[in-house]
Amino acid sequence: MDGKKKAGFFKNPLRRWSWLFMGPVCAAFAIGFVWPFIQGIYLSFCKFKLIRDAKFIGFGNYVSAFADETFKHAFWYTALFAIVSLVLINVLAFTIAYLLTQGLKRSNLYRTVFFMPNLIGGIVLGYIWSMIFDGILSHFNTSILLESKYGFWGLIILVCWQQIGYMMIIYIAGLQAVSEDMLEAAKIDGATKMQTLFKVTIPNVMPSITICTFLGLTNGFKLFDQNLALTAGQPFIIQPDGSNIKTTEMLALNIYNTFYNSSSGSQGTAQAKAVIFFILVAGLGLLQLAYTRKREVQQ
């Protein structure tokens, strides 16, 4: 078969049959994502217990979502968590990836070991770590459920442990793609190791940094299972009037708790919170993408 004939052979059938290959994926995406998404937005303007009984009420749900103090608390708590975890995960993942690409012995074994925590589901991780933390904290007569700061740092340790390995793999791929010629040229020009790292290596792995910071930020905001299993919002601050603030409740858990509480109309409020949550995460994600993309080096 010569080249021309080969191209024709693939070209026409592919064009003719492409719908057959794309169709199922598009249909699944539409059924499983686009339609529920549109329905979700509609429901955020409704009062409902069951979806089929939804009654349109306008912006009322958004008003009560914004008026909800616990939602505000969850937002700031989540923002703080996302930033701290984003920085720690990325710095540590990059450091490990850098060390493991320096020709260390058994580096493949280490890569596997570091990646492994990522294979365990969030709920399981949450329960396992709550036992570990309490095993330690019980020596000091306290528990992860008693102090907000333990809950916060506990969750940070948990997600670092879980996600560093995953980010590390992405960084390793990026680091291996940095051209040897460039590194050699830097060496010949007399650049120190530090200079090489900051002036040559890091600008060249910017695409990996973009994707890892994006994942880190959105994962931080979307975190749910680990939050539920580790502290479920405890400890609460019991206000003098009898209401309470769940000090370690993040946004996703706040939405979940709102949805499944038996207050009338809380489902609609939760739905409105979810839409606000989507806009927030999508907006932040896009902003961050635009920001780091600018810093990528075009080769």
């Binding site: 709550s130 036992m131 509480n261 809380s266």
Partner: protein, 433 residues
């Protein structure tokens, strides 16, 4: 070659399409039985699951009517019900546990007045009505809770059950056992874990003593009160403190749970176990003479107290189900409480069935409840069923109790009282906006 590739491509595409179609058709089955009707029972008691599945199978074999039983995982009944009720094949038989759930789900419940299952009942005592007098759900079993005691251990410690007739007696025995725990080889109370699998024993059950006595002072509650006064918080504290401070597990270790209180009691490591009649089957395996005593807490005249009797187990039939399904569901319910074999299994698992044709129960704890009644003691009814916005209310109480367990200061107890008393009003407001 060319044809082969084409065939392969079409084949692969077909597989994908068929796979997708198979996924989407998974949930829509069951049309064939629409004429005779079918039953979908959403059960909320994990302990009952095994028996319920067995009963469903028996009924299908006998009558050919399809019965599906789904049991919600512990503590997630509300979530499961919300999502299941939205499906096209929604539960036909579900559980409305209390007055606050009647408010939430009453609209979806069929009026059971005059139905075959309502006519089988031997008491109206456990039925739940909405504000218009519609019979939304009917009790299918009857339970009691209190403090389960191992009389052998009480005697081994040199005491007798006769000493325990009020809080002072209970306190003396429990504190003595705890003080000599090393020498005796067992302790007074089994662990009072505050994790989700155990905290309800305190935030739901033990809390009832406060609600009950307050309700009694008010001359009985007929609907959910908007607020409570907390008159008996000191009595709740008496019993709660006794429980956590004279236990196998230090109060500071309770927050995250992980102690198996049932097993501690069953294996003779503890003499007291705060729980209910549903534990009888498990407990009597090793301690056949285990008995249940009331929540003695220092209230005047409590020598005449009985056990906490009532139920959360009330069946409702989905009003949106087809007539055939409703009929099939009611037939199934009647079979469950009247067929000798089926009702026998139900009684064995659940205790007393308040139905005319149900066999008598062999549950020792319910026999204890009857014994108290017969000797003229007052029944502590389940005022706890009025708790507003239950999950939220109890979660705050758990958090406050955790703090108190770690440091039993007056300030921390004040927070428990706030969560208990003021929290009620806050959650009532939220639920009735």
């Amino acid at each position: 070659m060319k044809n082969l590739k084409k065939v392969l491509a079409v084949l692969l595409a077909m597989i994908m399409v068929i796979g997708l179609a198979a996924c989407s058709s998974g949930g829509g089955g069951g049309d064939s039985s629409s004429e005779t009707g079918s039953v979908y029972w959403l059960n909320f008691k994990p302990e009952l699951d095994e028996t319920a599945q067995q009963l469903a199978k028996m009924y299908t074999e006998k009558t050919g009517v399809a019965v599906k039983v789904v049991t919600a995982a512990s503590g997630t009944y509300g979530q499961t019900l919300t999502s299941e009720m939205d499906k096209s094949a929604a539960p036909t038989l579900f559980v409305i546990t209390n007055q606050s759930m009647v408010k939430e789900w009453g609209d979806y419940a069929m009026d059971l007045t005059g139905t075959a299952i309502a006519n089988e009942l031997n008491t109206d005592g456990f039925n739940l009505y909405d504000e218009n007098g519609k019979l939304c759900s009917i009790g299918y079993c009857y339970e009691c809770y209190g403090i389960i005691v191992n009389p052998d251990l009480i005697e081994a410690a040199g005491h007798s059950m006769d000493e325990i007739t009020n809080f002072a007696g209970l306190k003396a025995v429990a504190e003595d056992i705890h003080a000599r725990a090393d020498e005796l080889g067992f302790d007074a109370f089994s662990s009072s874990d505050m994790d989700g699998s155990s905290s309800w024993r305190f935030t739901g059950h033990m809390a009832n003593l406060e609600y009950f006595y307050e309700e009694r002072d008010d001359g009985g509650w007929s609907e959910q009160p908007a607020s409570i006064k907390g008159t008996y918080m000191d009595n709740f504290k008496n019993l709660y403190d006794l429980c956590i401070n004279n236990s196998l597990t230090a109060p500071t270790d309770l927050a995250n749970g992980g102690h198996d209180a049932e097993n501690e009691f069953k294996t003779g490591k503890a003499a007291f176990f705060v729980n209910g009649s549903w534990e009888y089957a498990a407990v009597s395996e090793t301690i056949p003479n285990a008995t249940m005593i009331p929540y003695y807490c220092g209230v005047a005249g409590e020598e005449k107290a009985g056990l906490n009797c009532g139920t959360e187990n009330c069946w409702a039939v989905n009003d949106n189900a087809s007539d055939a399904d409703k009929q099939a569901t009611i037939d199934f319910m009647v079979w469950l409480v009247s067929d000798p074999e089926a009702a026998g299994l139900m009684v064995e698992q659940l205790g007393v069935l308040p139905y005319k044709n149900a066999p008598a129960s062999k549950n020792g704890f319910l026999a204890d409840a009857d014994r108290y009644n017969a000797s003229g003691c007052y029944v502590m009814d389940w005022a706890t069923n009025y708790q507003p916005n239950v999950d939220e209310y109890r979660a705050a109480l758990v958090s406050a109790l955790n703090k108190y367990n770690a440091d039993q200061s007056a300030a921390n107890w004040a927070e428990v009282v706030t969560a208990f008393v003021d929290g009620w009003a806050v959650q009532y407001q939220k639920a009735n906006q």
